[in-house]
Amino acid sequence: MENLKEFNVDGTVYKTQTTKKFENRKAWERPNPKNLLSFIPGTIVEIFVKEGQEVKAGESLMILEAMKMKNLIEMPFDGVIKKIHVEEGVKVPNRMLMVEIE
């Protein structure tokens, strides 16, 4: 039997093969509330804020248009815009870092 690996289940180590899907699984990362990620693939239509600007919770940061719907992206809490990673007109994939907040 080829490509045997050690595989731990509840403290016991088994000799076994793995699958492509298993090898390609993504490691979990703790979400950082200061990083605003896109929640759907789409296009940035308009950006209302600038880097360094103070923004109150609930204010609109930008419009992410996806599936013919214009989604307003809101500020999650009071803070300062540290960096904007997108520009007007660009397409963004899902879960892309759009804005960093301080």
């Binding site: 039997m1 045997l4 595989f7 289940v9 509840d10 403290g11 016991t12 180590v13 088994y14 000799k15 076994t16 093969q17 793995t18 699958t19 492509k20 899907k21 298993f22 699984r25 993504k26 979990w28 693939p41 789409g42 996806a66 397409k91 994939p93």
Partner: protein, 514 residues
């Protein structure tokens, strides 16, 4: 007056329709490495058994210049024929006619043959090769798809439904195959997706080929949408015919019995399985060692390989095997393997096929991704499917049967009819290492040499619980058998279960954890 003139006229009309989309379109089809719809139908069916209906159907579309277009058979062939002498209904979309696009009449032809299959209680084979909805026909084509999906659902569990993807099958069209029992795909020919590469590129800027997005390999290895993968159309047709030898024609029947045959002598059951529960082996060899002629017809061979499902025969009768595969991911249960097994169990239950479960697994796959993907919901499908099944259910525990996996894999508590265990079976809440670490935590921590103490305690636990006799003492296992006895015990238990009656509370239907 002679009938000759009318007969000649009929022949001429037929000949015209039989040309499909015409020579050029056929040349294109052949250049893509594809057979024509009619060649496919006649290759699957017994020679000269195909009878076609709705040959002269024409579309009624009047917009966008469609009124000037004549589409032969409206892009689909329907009819009846036989496979190994038994009747089947079949439809095949004809890509040479307007790209096999689905309009109102095209859909009506398909639903006509579906209704027929359901009424006559014969299997339905659908060959998909279509560019999708005929956009000129607007909502009529959507209506057509809907009528097909509805009938797929009505027929589900009554007659076998086979979908053969021999070309594109995109957008809403994919849901007909998805609702059917078995989906066949062929390398380089099958393409299935909801949104194609074009749309993905426009919306996301991601470039991907049709093959990478929804080719035969993708659906047989990653998505689990396909059950059978073939290198060529002819190989695919052989798979279809072989599958049909294992399944009954409808849910009121049993699968056809074949003359009993012993397993091949090269599969020596005692030599296949290592005694050390951490060492791998190929469970398919155990199935071959116990089934007639060592003939095991595997389903979803390349998806969630940590569980093995498929058909074999015992004493000439079809049996569905569900088996953990220690060779892959130690045979753990996870989201994909639960889905794979649960659906197969329900298939067997619907179609009167006894289920033999071979168990050797250390539990569920640990990991954040599994938990977040919903291994609770997916894992519950196996419990649901086994509990719900009333066909004869027999389990053989080969080595490990730990924790929730022990319960799930057709245990006595899911109402298995017979529970057998090999002397190598370990039926316990968890593996010895994990269990000792919890039970003897204090002793191990406080010991002068914790590692030595841990080893001692693991050995103690193994001695006491890692065997079949604790479960046998409670009657959870009916008997502990020698590996060599496995086939005979199974043959006997299937035989005595032949008239099994197991009634359940009346209900409209249950609510399985879909």
């Amino acid at each position: 007056m002679s009938l000759k003139r009318n007969i000649l006229d009929l022949r001429k009309r037929k000949e015209k329709v039989l040309q499909g989309g015409g020579e050029k379109a056929i040349q294109k089809q052949v250049a893509m490495g594809k057979l024509t719809a009619r060649e496919r139908v006649t290759s699957i069916l017994d020679e000269d058994s195909f009878h076609e209906y709705d040959l002269f159907v024409e579309h009624e579309a009047r917009d966008f210049g469609m009124e000037k277009k004549q589409l032969h058979g409206d892009g689909v062939i329907i009819g009846t024929g036989t496979i190994y002498g038994e009747p089947v209904c079949i439809f095949a979309q004809d890509f040479t006619v307007a790209g096999g696009s689905l309009g109102l009449m095209h859909a009506r032809k398909i639903t006509k043959i579906m209704d027929h299959a359901l009424k006559m209680r014969v299997p339905l084979i659908g060959i998909n090769d279509s560019g999708g909805a005929r956009i000129q026909e607007g909502v009529n084509s959507l209506a057509g798809y809907g009528e097909i999906f509805f009938r797929n659902t009505l027929a589900s569990g009554v007659i076998p439904q086979l979908s053969v993807i021999l070309g594109p099958c995109a957008g809403g069209a994919v849901y007909s195959p998805a609702l059917t029992d078995f989906v066949f795909v062929v390398e380089n020919i099958s393409k299935m997706f909801i949104t194609g590469p074009e749309v993905i590129k426009t919306v996301l800027g991601e470039e991907i080929s049709m093959e990478e997005l929804g080719g035969a390999r993708v659906h047989s290895e990653i998505t689990g949408n396909a059950h059978f993968y073939a290198q060529s159309e002819y190989e695919c047709f052989e798979q279809i015919k072989k599958l049909l030898t294992f399944i009954p024609w409808h849910n009121g029947k049993k699968a056809k019995a074949f003359p009993p045959k012993p397993p091949k002598p090269e599969y020596k059951i005692e030599e296949i399985v290592p005694a050390d529960p951490t060492q791998p082996y190929d469970i398919r060899n155990v199935i071959k060692a116990i089934s007639d002629d060592s003939d095991f017809f595997e389903i979803m061979e390349n998806f969630a390989k940590n569980i093995v499902i498929g058909f074999g025969r015992m004493n000439g009768e079809t049996v569905g095997f569900v088996a953990n595969q220690p060779m892959v991911l130690a045979g753990v249960l996870d989201c994909d393997s639960s889905d794979k097994a649960a659906r197969f169990i329900r298939y067997c239950d619907s179609f009167n096929i006894p289920i033999v479960t071979l168990e050797d697994m250390p539990g569920y796959l640990p990991g954040v991704d599994q938990e977040h993907m919903g291994v609770i919901r997916h894992g519950a499908k196996i419990l649901y499917a086994y509990s719900e099944a009333t066909v004869p259910k027999i389990t053989v525990i080969i080595r490990k049967a730990y924790g929730g996996g022990y319960i799930a894999m057709n245990s006595r508590h899911m109402k298995a009819d017979f529970m057998f265990a090999w002397p190598t079976a370990e039926i316990a809440v968890m593996g010895p290492e994990g269990a000792a670490n919890i039970i003897f935590r204090k002793e191990i921590m406080n010991a002068e040499d914790p590692e030595a103490m841990r080893k001692e305690k693991v050995a103690e636990y193994k001695e006491k619980f890692a065997n079949p006799y604790v479960a046998a003492a409670k009657g959870y296992i009916d008997t502990v058998i020698e590996p060599e006895e496995t086939r005979n015990m199974l043959l006997h238990s299937i035989e005595v279960s032949n008239n099994k009656v197991d009634r359940r509370p009346a209900k409209k239907h249950g609510i399985p954890p879909f």
